[in-house]
Symmetry: C2
Subunit: 249 residues, 2 copies
Amino acid sequence: MTHHLTGHSAMPSGQVSHCQGCSLCSHCLPLGLAYEDLERFDAIILRPRPLKRGAPLVRQGEPFTSLYVVRSGSFKQVVADAGHREHVTHFLLPSEVVGLDAVGEAVHPTSVVALESSFVCELPFGSLEALGDRLPALRGALYRCMSQELHRDQRLHCLLAFATAERRMASFLLGMSERHAARGYSPYGFQLAMSRADIGSFLGLALETVSRLMSRFQRHGLLQVSGREMTLLDLPALEALAEQGESRR
Amino acid sequence: MTHHLTGHSAMPSGQVSHCQGCSLCSHCLPLGLAYEDLERFDAIILRPRPLKRGAPLVRQGEPFTSLYVVRSGSFKQVVADAGHREHVTHFLLPSEVVGLDAVGEAVHPTSVVALESSFVCELPFGSLEALGDRLPALRGALYRCMSQELHRDQRLHCLLAFATAERRMASFLLGMSERHAARGYSPYGFQLAMSRADIGSFLGLALETVSRLMSRFQRHGLLQVSGREMTLLDLPALEALAEQGESRR
DNA sequence: CGCATCCTTGACCGCGGTCAACAGTCGTGG
DNA sequence: CCACGACTGTTGACCGCGGTCAAGGATGCG
């Protein structure tokens, strides 16, 4: 990873670190802000912060002060279960927002950990709120983010409650594919930044089952996988698996 | 149910229909508003609306205009799955907010259906937003509602991903108990307004399994159940089932 | 009273969890 | 450079939880 340390900031200085120069801008939180509003939004951002693989961005129980937006890399959101077991509840890709489950709360209910070397933009929530008073579009964007996450959780609920392992796996892969595609990358090939155990934890499957399913999908020509390098070969077939399979009640 | 129809309104007229006269006020959305602010909040509420068992409060795909607060009765939130199957994602009790998953969206992503004769207060979202500009406490309350729902969904994710049927059932019953207790009712005895099939759909279990588990819990002296009348006899034992059971990975 | 809906209980068996052994891959130090 | 251990991923064998099917009982409404 190439990051130079200029002063105490960790990104190349100049325009590049601003929203206008960021390739994710059109998919990011400030979506739909007018140019001069964007500049005001830009002004409240604390400049990108680097995290290494395994480093926590926020820790469960820490006081809530800021939202973060993933600028590059990826993260997993984990909760320490009552049974002291860790459980992955979400994966976060570039342009996605971290900390919405803590908005309006005193502390973070989950931890968020880098899966690889990553950068995040920090948005102090106080500043964001103040700016939201003047820019209804920004507040609307925040609402939309939160409700979309609620909606996404509902679909996940359906998946975990009723889908077979095969269907969960197919849905997961298609979801990753979509999210990559939405950011301008290929929907067919991508790197899985997370381990089989993380995927299993997220989908409610044993890691062995994750591994077996990937092998089976490969054997059937649906995809090509080697370690964490994933290539989806037959999206329609995967969609058929993800949507049809009227298995469990 | 005792409700007189006075004119076209379906609640006793006068103070009773205002927040100040509502027994749920201290648990409800306007929690923590000062007296005169509460009056302004009260002014934007569309007076309680009655729904019969099975009647939809909002339908999936309908345009979003208002939030609702359950005043009495109960509801289930359902999504029409990709596989054309209906799936229960939440149950809603008095003082809980309906429609947060649609805030900032054009349409409702889920339907909400009355499980029994119920009343709701309607909060037009536009008015709520406008009032929120002047009452930071109100906006904060809205944020808190949304993030709490996100947090709740995370715990549900853990439950569905890893818990055995027994543990899901125990958690569900304890959750209902807590929510009843939070509203000043007994944590031990309550009516289940939903069918076994609804519970199963929510927990990702076959309705037969729900029935079997209730029978087993009763056999072991943990509770007393007769149809939809539920009495929890041994909360500590249920908590042990809900929290310990380190079953699946 | 009769039909519909909801609930209960039993019998069976398949999906996927668990345990176990082994194969790659990477980073570290001799 | 290779040897070593730690970690991650793959594959097989086994079996138990819980889904499915089926039958019968309870409850309620027209």
